[in-house]
């Protein structure tokens, strides 16, 4: 049950739309690099997981979504958060535990959320966000608002039982749910295929859910693959499952520097052959949709924007101590 369409929807995308995707991917990458700097300089508390290399999935999927659509994300979730519409300052603020963060500093990198843009939250429980987005899809169905619920999760979450339960529920209730697996081939330090049996898309097909493997390093491929799924979901056609083939360029977390569980060659190959930003950049240039210098200018703008946001967040105050026992219960 592959999800294909006759002529790829991305062919109809205006240059501006493609450029926007590029800009988003560049922003995510610059954001992540800046987060890495914070961490290296010990200016950021806790741990963090960067999504460099995986930008195309977040951007390609979220391009179909609006504010009434909900996503849930993971511990590697900065890209999803930004692609869904969040702003850089409160993102940095949250990661630094500042009062101006989306969650007032209470959530941090692993729990960042932005209700306004329909982001229900990153999650530090592997698989934890899957039923939440599926529940958002249930709301959309009951409230008949044509919304969809998208859960992003890693290949590691494929082995959490909650996936089976959520997929089955989405299937029997025909929910507008999209299960978006980012297969970056490792869960922490363990290769995915060592702990994950069978063909991955079968885990969706087992429930009669249309399922497809997609090149997650190609933002237009991601865009094309999910277009029909989102439309079908909105029209009451039920859930879809995607396994996006992708790669995290850096370590699992910041402390994972040597990455003994994989080879330098492997890393080099992904970076040099399949980089999603390079790819879209070359497409745009090849199609004559913009010039090198225009793209370089975008890159500079993005970096400046990120740097400025980082500065603002860094200057922001920590939360007031009185915040500590607020928000345990809602009134």
């Amino acid at each position: 049950m592959a999800l294909t369409t006759e002529s790829p929807p991305s062919q109809g995308l205006a240059a501006a739309a493609r450029l926007k995707m590029l800009r988003q991917m560049l922003t995510i990458r610059a954001f992540e690099h800046r987060v890495g700097e914070f961490y290296e300089r010990a200016e950021m508390p806790g741990i963090t997981h960067l999504s460099i290399g995986q930008e195309a999935v977040a951007v390609g999927v979220c391009a179909h979504l609006n504010r009434n659509d909900y996503i849930t994300s993971t511990h590697r979730g900065h890209g999803h958060c930004y692609a869904k519409g969040a702003g850089l300052v409160p993102m940095f603020g949250e990661l630094l535990g500042k009062a101006n963060g989306y969650c007032r500093g209470k959530g941090g990198s692993m729990h960042i959320a932005d209700r306004e843009t329909g982001h229900l939250g990153a999650n530090a429980i592997i698989g934890g966000g899957i039923p939440l987005a599926t529940g958002a899809a249930l709301s959309a169905k009951v409230l008949r608002n044509r919304g969809v619920g998208v859960s992003f999760f890693g290949d590691g979450a494929l082995n959490e039982g909650i996936l089976l339960e959520s997929m089955n529920l989405a299937a029997i209730w025909n929910l507008p749910a999209i299960f978006a697996c980012e297969n970056n081939h490792y869960g922490e330090y363990t290769p995915t295929d060592q702990v994950t049996a069978g063909r991955l898309t079968l885990r969706g097909e087992a429930f009669g859910i249309p399922s497809a493997e997609v090149d997650g390093m190609d933002v237009l491929a991601v865009y094309d693959a999910t277009d029909a799924a989102v439309q079908r979901a909105r029209g009451g056609g039920g859930p879809s499952f995607f396994v996006f083939d992708t790669y995290r360029y850096l370590g699992h977390g910041m402390s994972d520097r040597t990455r003994p569980y994989r080879s330098q060659e492997e890393e080099d190959e992904w970076r040099s052959q399949r980089d999603p930003i390079e790819r879209l950049r070359n497409q745009l240039l090849g199609a004559g949709l913009c010039s090198e210098s225009e793209l370089d200018a975008v890159g500079q703008e993005v970096r400046a924007e990120v740097e400025e946001a980082a500065r603002l967040a860094q200057e922001a105050p920590f939360p007031d101590p009185e915040e500590v026992d607020r928000h345990v219960f809602a009134d």
């Binding site: 500093g105 039923p131 809602a330």
Partner: protein
């Protein structure tokens, strides 16, 4: 208005059913799902008739997927619905406990107050039905321990109805525990034309007395009242007070009662060790050290998995005779 105190006799199960029905009438965002809750009306008949009244989009039978249905409930609650999710037996809460504890309980806080999770986990508790170790537990202490959760465990049909209505209207996740040994017991419930809710964190004095306070929860209230009657024959006047919710806990009312009586026994059906009674006993001990005339005592279930054989099971559940005996000892102190 018709006569205000016209009280019908309803079972716990009927009372909760009525509460859900009224709240679903009142608020279209309230939906209900769980295993066998729709067509079959629930294994305790708590959801009988609701499918007919509210239709298949608001009352849904689910697969046997406790974690999944809990999680979908949380997600739905985050996005505009107010789900009631039935987890048939409280013993199955562990299957859903990641979603309850790590997601439902923490979302409002972790999001800095952006997203609340207004939902009810409707479940059952208690031994006495010869259902053995995996269908008889009373795990209220677990959930009362977790910041962000509220825990209600009514001891009468009247309270059950009023607390359930409050639970559904609450903006937070509520664990609602029905004591299954009593679920078909009847008690007076006001006519539906007299709507009432019972606020959380408000204990109820079930019997007044001067000599001794019996703090009891769920079906232990009945055991305590029976014990109080027996003790009264010996001239010992017990006050029986039911916190009704463990979280929030009406500390003031409990302490007021013990301040008056100077003696306190806490009875809760969870395993005694590290049980809910420990919190209350510690609280009373800490606050009323100088008022107490005897040590605060506790009575919980025996610290064993609930055995199947009736002759053994009965030994594990706190019962009137034990309350009477401990009370007598306490009055001698």
């Amino acid at each position: 208005m018709s006569s205000p105190t016209e009280a019908r006799q309803l079972t716990f199960s009927q009372a909760v059913n009525e509460a859900i029905r009224e709240e679903m009438d009142r608020d279209h965002r309230v939906i209900l799902f769980g295993e066998d809750v729709a067509a079959a009306g629930g294994v305790w008949k708590v959801t009988e008739g609701l499918l007919d009244r509210f239709g298949a989009e608001r009352v849904l039978d689910t697969p046997i997927s406790e974690a999944g249905i809990a999680g979908l409930g949380v997600g739905a609650a985050m996005t505009g619905l107010r789900p009631i999710v039935e987890i048939m037996f409280g013993d199955f809460l562990p299957l859903a406990s990641d979603q309850i504890v790590n997601q439902a309980a923490k979302t409002y806080y972790m999001s800095g107050g952006m997203t609340s999770v207004p939902m009810v986990f409707l479940t059952s508790m208690g031994a006495g039905r010869r259902l053995a170790a995996q269908h008889s537990q009373s795990l209220q202490a677990w959930f009362a321990h977790i910041p962000g959760l509220k825990v209600a465990l009514p001891s009468s049909p009247h309270d059950a109805k009023g607390l359930m209505k409050t639970a559904i209207r609450d903006e937070n996740p509520v664990i609602f525990l029905q004591d299954k040994v009593d679920i078909y017991q009847k008690g007076p419930v006001p006519d539906p034309s007299h709507e009432y809710t019972i606020p959380f964190g408000r204990a109820d004095v079930k019997r007044e007395g001067e000599d001794l306070t019996l703090i009891a929860t769920s079906s232990m209230v009945r055991q305590a009242l029976d014990a109080a009657s027996e003790l009264a024959e010996e001239g010992i006047e017990s006050e029986v007070i039911d916190p009704r919710t463990l979280a929030p806990l009406d500390e003031e009312s409990l302490l007021d009662s013990v301040r008056k009586t100077a003696r306190c026994l806490v009875i809760d059906e969870g395993y005694q060790r590290y049980g809910a009674g420990a919190e209350i006993a510690a609280l009373v001990g800490e606050n009323l050290f100088y008022d107490l005339e005897a040590p605060v005592r506790r009575l919980g279930a025996m610290d064993v998995p609930v055995p199947f054989s009736p002759t053994l099971e009965d030994l594990t559940i706190p019962r009137k005779e034990q309350i009477v005996e401990i009370a007598r000892q306490m009055l001698e102190d």
